[in-house]
């Protein structure tokens, strides 16, 4: 979870890192009651980087200019994000600008201190001068002094900048951060330090135990819900979860009971030179499977089927679900019930009807004989369904639905081949 600049600065202020007097503005009119003397800086409060270059920071000398500038900033989106708040801040005459950060390095599995004597907006220059100190043991202020010395600072700055880093590390540790950054840390002619901009990212997994931070950004981040709420949602109504990728030209939709299974199906379809349209995960929980939650799960599956009927150009739904055999029975029944109005009465063709030729596609003569009846479908718009259940006795479902609409298999590759051949037909 990323905090906005003004939220980060509140935390800096509490721990004793110097910040400038500032005020948050929710609409341009509020600038009439500004408590900070002009000239001031108006800063768009968005999470995206590169804010200054995009025009999200403006220097103003009086109320009239400030209101005009604020209007512009509120209407300026930075990488798709409009600010809800503008920070009005006093100006600072920085002679030098430093970059400081404490970052959790997932590769080293350790916190790392980073610093550059060339802070500010010139990113390549900043990175060229970036120094790093790995905090390999319990943190102690000497790590901070080591970084400052590597940055090439001298004199009184060694101690004063180290003190800032020590405070940053305290925030990092106490609030479970992934990341805290001050850029720039301004140094004025008298050698006084000032955190002019800051970023804080809280570890997603730890947000839950920092209610003070949640309240800080409650309005700006709706994704935050307490664990109790999450648990309630999990139990009563299972939410469909869509895979992150979509393809408008795709003809096959995926339903799986786990994101990794969805990913696997996506891979297999793409490897066979076909485009999946989208994927949806029906959240499955073994604990739910054991209690009476199976009916809920089946309802979620039905919901997924219903929502996919609206996807344009869709020709095939491919289902890949892993569950115990008794649950498979219920899943199959749900699918059969859902499609029963469109399935003709069983005919005595036996299973030869769906026997595969070597390349996995259906025998063409048998396909045509059924074309007529299935093309009458209205609700399902002729979307066919390939169902892969990891069940050793998959045949028991096949005989129940003697139709071209539903194809049952326990072999994943066969399911993919079948889905692709159906997507390519007609």
């Amino acid at each position: 979870m990323d905090l906005l600049e003004y939220q980060a600065k509140e935390i800096f202020h509490k721990i004793g890192i110097p910040v400038l007097p500032s005020q948050t503005i929710k609409e341009p009119r509020e600038l009439k009651q500004l408590q900070i003397p002009y000239p001031v800086v108006l800063k768009s409060q968005v999470r995206a980087g590169g804010r200054g270059k995009a025009g999200g920071i403006k220097f103003v000398g009086n109320t009239i200019d400030a209101i005009a500038a604020a209007r512009t900033i509120f209407n300026l989106s930075i990488i798709g994000e409009y600010p809800e708040v503008i920070l009005a801040e006093a100006q600072y005459d920085a002679q030098e600008e430093l970059f400081l950060a404490v970052v959790l390095d997932y590769q080293l599995k350790l916190p790392v201190l980073l610093g550059s004597a060339k802070g500010g907006m010139d990113v390549p220059l900043l990175l060229d001068n970036l120094q790093q100190v790995v905090v390999a043991t319990e943190f102690s202020p000497f790590y901070a002094r080591r970084l400052v010395s590597k940055m090439g600072l001298s004199g009184e700055l060694i101690q004063s900048v180290s003190d800032i880093i020590v405070k940053m590390y305290r925030i990092f540790q106490e609030t479970d951060l992934d990341f805290v950054e001050i850029n720039p840390l301004g140094i004025n002619a008298e050698g006084k330090l000032m955190a002019l901009d800051g970023k804080i990212k809280i570890n997603e997994l730890a947000v839950i135990r920092h209610p003070e931070i949640i309240s800080l950004s409650a309005k700006s981040d709706l994704s935050l819900v307490s664990r109790e709420q999450l648990d309630l949602n999990d139990r009563s109504q299972l939410q469909l979860q869509w895979l992150d990728w979509q393809d408008e030209k795709g003809k096959i939709a995926i339903i799986a009971n786990n994101p990794d299974l969805g990913t696997l199906c996506w891979d297999l379809i793409r490897q066979n030179k076909e485009k999946p349209a989208c994927g949806v995960v029906v959240p499955w929980d073994k604990e739910v499977e054991e209690s009476d939650g199976v009916e809920n799960l089946c309802l979620t599956l039905q919901q997924a089927l219903e929502q996919l009927q609206d996807v344009k150009r869709l020709k095939v739904i491919m289902i890949n679900i892993w569950a115990s055999p008794s649950v498979n029975d219920k899943i199959a029944q749900k699918i059969l019930d859902y499609y029963s109005p469109y399935i003709e009465k069983p005919v005595n063709h036996g299973r030869d009807e769906r026997s595969l030729v070597a390349n996995g596609s259906l025998l063409p003569s048998q396909r045509q004989s059924r074309e007529k009846s299935t093309s009458n479908l209205q609700l399902s718009q002729g979307i066919k369904v390939v169902i892969r259940l990891a069940d050793h006795e998959i045949d028991r479902f096949r005989t129940k639905s003697d139709s071209e609409l539903l194809y049952w298999t326990n072999n994943l590759e066969e399911a993919v081949t079948q889905a692709i051949s159906l997507a390519k037909s007609r």
Partner: protein, 293 residues
């Protein structure tokens, strides 16, 4: 292997929702579960497993214990692990997922080298028809000589399904977990399996988002037994998770640093190192049979 098959095993957090079911399943499978930790409970047993307030109460009353399965809520994992280590346990499987990253880092920093931790977010270990530690479904595995190391429960089932269809059973199945900070690393498990007499070949199941570090570890570790890897998500436009502090900072500072697709390069470097890369789970059995001949 003794710590999996024979030594007594305890469960911390046995009264958390759903855990009693897993405990009963594990016991029924023949796993040597001897006790559970549940602080301040009135009941003295759960699923015929005796309950204790503290890990050290168990070691005092029942004798030495080597292994603990940790199911406590994420924010209590660090404390539970410390308690187990203080009581003299050597093997911890952290089943709980979503443990705050700094807690895991603290745990790694203070854990002595002779203690092995799996997870967090590990679904455990299975030795087919002998022992089941954790939440993997044992019915999807059959005994044999292929070891699986995985970070995904359902991809493990898919791979086992394909292996089983070709009569290739499994010697042992490890789920290393899926949390951002994992305790035990790949080299440790590879070395362990290389020495394991029941294992003839190793299959690694990995996700594309973590492929970089995975490849480095895999190439650097010397293993004599044949290895096949399957990497899921190569065809998806997934964002790579940034791992390294400098890269994280650079991407923060400039939104415009292009994400490089280095997957092809990584895969060819794996192949150069003699590691077979399967494109689908179904290709894995053939690669194993070819190589072990």
């Amino acid at each position: 292997m003794n710590w999996i098959l024979e030594e007594p095993i305890i469960i911390q957090g046995i009264t958390e929702p759903g855990v009693a079911n897993y405990a009963a399943k594990m016991k029924a499978y023949g796993t040597n579960i001897v006790a559970g930790v549940a602080t301040g409970k009135q009941e003295t047993t759960l699923e015929d497993i005796p309950l204790f307030n503290l890990v050290e109460d168990i070691t005092e009353q029942l004798g030495r214990v080597e292994t603990s399965l940790i199911f406590v809520p994420p924010e209590l994992v660090l404390d539970a692990a410390r308690e187990a280590i203080a009581a003299g346990l050597h093997y911890l499987i952290i089943v709980t997922a979503g443990v705050p990253s700094l807690d895991m880092i603290r745990l790694l920093q203070e854990t002595p080298e002779d203690i092995l931790i799996l997870g967090s977010g590990s679904r455990g270990i299975i030795v087919p028809e002998k022992a089941c530690l954790g939440t993997l479904q044992p019915e999807y595995f059959i005994p044999g000589s292929v070891a699986l190391i995985s970070c995904s429960e359902f991809l493990t089932y898919e791979v086992a399904w394909e292996l089983n269809n070709q009569g290739l059973g499994q010697s042992i199945v490890f789920d290393v977990g899926n949390d951002p900070i994992l305790s035990s690393n790949l080299p440790q498990w590879l070395t362990f399996l290389d020495q394991d007499s029941e294992t003839e070949a190793i299959v690694l199941i990995q996700q594309v988002k973590d492929i970089e570090k995975f490849a480095v570890d895999l190439i650097e570790t010397k293993v004599n037994k044949p290895i096949v890897t399957y990497i899921a998500g190569l065809q998806t436009p997934q964002e790579r998770i940034l791992q390294n502090a400098t890269t994280i900072v650079a991407s923060y500072l400039s939104a415009s640093i292009p994400a490089q697709n280095t997957n092809k390069k990584i895969i060819s470097s794996l192949k150069k190192a003699g590691i077979q890369v399967a494109e689908t789970p179904a290709q894995i059995p053939a690669m194993i049979t070819c190589k072990s001949k």
